[in-house]
Amino acid sequence: MLVDRILSRLLQAIPTLAGVAVIVFVLVRVVPGNPIAMMLPPGATQADIERLKALYGFDKSIAEQFLIWTSHALFGDFGISISLRQSVMGLVFSKLPATLELVLLATMVAVSLGVSLAVVGTRFQSEWPEAVIDGLTGFVQSVPDFIWSLALILVLGVLFPVLPISGRSDPRIGLNYATPFQLTESLVRLDARAFFDIFRHMIMPALALALPFAAIVARVLKSSLAEEMTQDYVLLARVKGFSEWRVIVGEALRNAAIPTVILTGVQFTFLIGGTVLVERIFSYPGIGNLAIDAVLNRDLPLIQGLVLVFAVLFITINLLLDFATVALNPKLSHG
C-alpha cells in the first residue's frame, strides 16, 4: 500500500516537472537580455553575433530548441553552462551539498529553538515569560535574514571578531574530500580540525537563516499547543498528577506537531532556494550564489537546470511531509 502511494505520487510528479520545464524554458527566452550579448565585447559585428547564435542553437525557434533540450535532458544531459563552460548538472551537484548542509543546520537550530520557546511559553501561559517570548518572536520574525546576516557580521565578525565572515572553510586546511558534503564528510572521517573549521564558517549564515525561521516555528507551535491544552485528555493527564512539563511534552506536543512539521518542511524547501542573499553576503559557495551568477550572465542552460532541481527537491520534500503527517496521526493511517 505504501509502495502504491509512493508510485502514484511519483507519477503525479511527471506532469508537474514537464510544466515547470516548459515555463522556465520559454520564460528565460522571451525576457529581454540574452547570453550572446553578455559574451561579446561591445564592438562585435552583426556577423559575429549571428555566428555565435548559430553555435549555441539560439537561431532556431523556441519549440525546436525545446525539443533538442528535452531529448538530451531525458537522458540526464542538461547541457553545458554558457558562462562557466562546465556541465550544468556537474555544477549544480557540486554546489547543492553546501547549501543543503547549511539549510539543514539552520533548520535544526530553528526547530530546536522554536520548539523550546513554544513549550516554555505554553508552560508559563499568562505569566511574564510568555509575554517575553511573544514579544521576542514577533520581533525576530519581522527582521529578515539578510539584516540578521549584517547584524551578526557586525557583532561576531567585526566588534568581537570570533567567527569568520566569509567562505566555507579556511584555505589553509587542505580538503581532499571525496564528496561535496564537506561538513558531513569531515564528521564521518572524525576530522575534528576540518569539521570545526567548516562548522565555524557556517554558524553565522545558519543563524541568520534560523532566527526568523525559529520565530515562525515558535508562534505556530505555541498556538496549536494552546488549542491542545484545552482538550479533555490534557485535563485527565493533569488529574493523573503529572507535571505541566510532562503534560505539555508527553501529551500535547505530538498532537500539536502536525502544522509545525508541515511548516518546517515548506520553510526548508523555501530556504534551499532562498539562501541567495545570505550566501551572497557570506560569499558562501552554495547553490544560491550559483543561481545569482547564472541569472546575471543570462546562463540559460544553468538557470533551467537549477529550476528543475528545485522542483524535484520541492516534490520530494512534499512527499516526505505527507508520510510524516500520517506517521504523526494514527487516525490518518487507515484512510
Binding site: S126, Q231, D232, Y233, L235, L236, A237, R238, V239, K240, G241, F242, S243, E244, G250, E251, R254, N255, L328, N329, P330, K331
Partner: protein, 282 residues
C-alpha cells in the same frame, strides 16, 4: 462520619466581573458513598468538580470557604501540592470518552503511565495490572485493546478504559463528571452498573456530577440539588425523591421521565427558574 471529601461554605466568583458562580456550597462525601450533584447546565456543578480537582480555569477565583480531602485543604494549594494530593488518591472519570483519551497514544501507554508514576510499578507489572483492570471493567480481549489507539475502539469501550484508569491507583475519591452523558442509553446502564459495582468492591467515595435524576436514583446514596450556584436541597436520595422540599427540586422531578410511573406527565422547568441560572452566570 469519616468524610473523604468535605466542602465547607465554598464561594467562587469570576475574576473579570465578580459575578458569583458558587455561593456557600457545603457537602460531604464519605468512603464508599456516591454523592450526586444535580442541576441544570450552568448551575455550577462542574465548577465544583473542577475546584475539587484543582483545575479551575484562571478566570474563576475561590473567594472563601474550604475543600478538604482526607483532612488536607485544597483551596489555595500550590500547583505542586495539588499534584501530590491528586497522586494520594483523587481520580477523574471524564464526561466525553471521545476526547478524554489522547488520540496519538496507545491505550496501554495511557493506562500504565499513571500506575508507573503513582504506584512505582515497572513496565511489566503495570501492564499486568492494566490487563486485570480491563477485565474488571468487562472488556473482552484486553490484550488486543491495550495495543489499540483510542479511535480504534468504541465509545463504550473507551469509557470503560477511562473507568479502569480512574480506579487504577486505588483512589479514595473519584470525581465523575457526567460519565454517561455522551453515551447511548443501553451503554449508559452498563457503565452505571459498572461504577456501582467497583464502588462497592473498592469502597471508593464518588462525587457524581449529572443533570440526569435517573442516574442519581440508580446509583447515588445522597444528593445535592444545585440551582444558580446554590445548593437548594440536600439529603439521602430516598428522602429527597419521596418528598422534595424545594420548588426547584420538584420542578426538576417533574421534568424527568420515570420508568416506575409511565403515566408521569413531563413538564419543563419554569422559565423564571431557568432565567435565574442565566442571570447568575452572566
Amino acid at each position: 462520619m469519616n468524610a473523604v471529601l468535605t466542602i465547607d461554605r465554598l464561594c467562587a466568583k469570576l475574576t473579570a466581573n465578580g459575578a458569583r458562580l458558587l455561593s456557600n456550597i457545603s457537602l460531604g462525601v464519605a468512603a464508599g458513598e456516591v454523592h450526586g450533584l444535580v442541576g441544570m447546565s450552568g448551575a455550577g456543578k462542574s465548577m465544583i468538580a473542577k475546584a475539587v480537582l484543582g483545575v479551575l480555569p484562571p478566570a474563576v477565583r475561590v473567594t472563601s470557604g474550604s475543600i478538604r480531602f482526607s483532612g488536607t485543604e485544597i483551596v489555595g494549594l500550590s500547583r505542586l501540592g495539588m499534584r501530590e494530593l491528586l497522586a494520594r488518591g483523587i481520580a477523574l472519570i471524564p464526561q466525553d470518552p471521545l476526547t478524554a483519551l489522547n488520540p496519538t497514544r496507545r491505550i496501554e501507554a495511557q493506562m500504565t503511565d499513571v500506575m508507573r508514576a503513582r504506584l512505582g510499578l515497572d513496565a511489566k507489572a503495570a501492564r499486568l495490572r492494566a490487563l486485570s483492570l480491563l477485565e474488571e471493567v468487562q472488556i473482552r480481549e484486553p490484550a488486543s485493546v491495550l495495543r489499540r489507539f483510542p479511535h480504534e475502539i468504541s465509545g463504550g469501550q473507551r469509557q470503560r478504559v477511562l473507568i479502569a484508569i480512574a480506579f487504577a491507583c486505588n483512589p479514595k475519591l473519584i470525581v465523575a463528571d457526567e460519565p454517561t452523558t455522551a453515551l447511548d442509553v443501553t451503554v449508559q446502564k452498563q457503565i452505571l452498573r459498572l461504577i456501582h459495582e467497583l464502588r462497592s468492591k473498592h469502597g471508593t467515595a464518588i462525587l457524581l456530577v449529572t443533570h440526569d435524576l435517573g442516574v442519581v436514583a440508580k446509583i447515588c446514596d445522597s444528593l445535592s440539588v444545585m440551582h444558580a450556584g446554590v445548593i437548594v436541597e440536600q439529603g439521602a436520595v430516598a428522602d429527597v425523591i419521596a418528598a422534595p422540599a424545594h420548588p426547584f427540586t420538584r420542578a426538576l422531578f417533574a421534568a424527568t421521565p420515570r420508568h416506575d410511573r409511565p403515566d408521569h406527565e413531563l413538564r419543563p422547568v419554569p422559565d423564571a427558574m431557568q432565567r435565574a441560572v442565566a442571570e447568575a452566570s452572566t
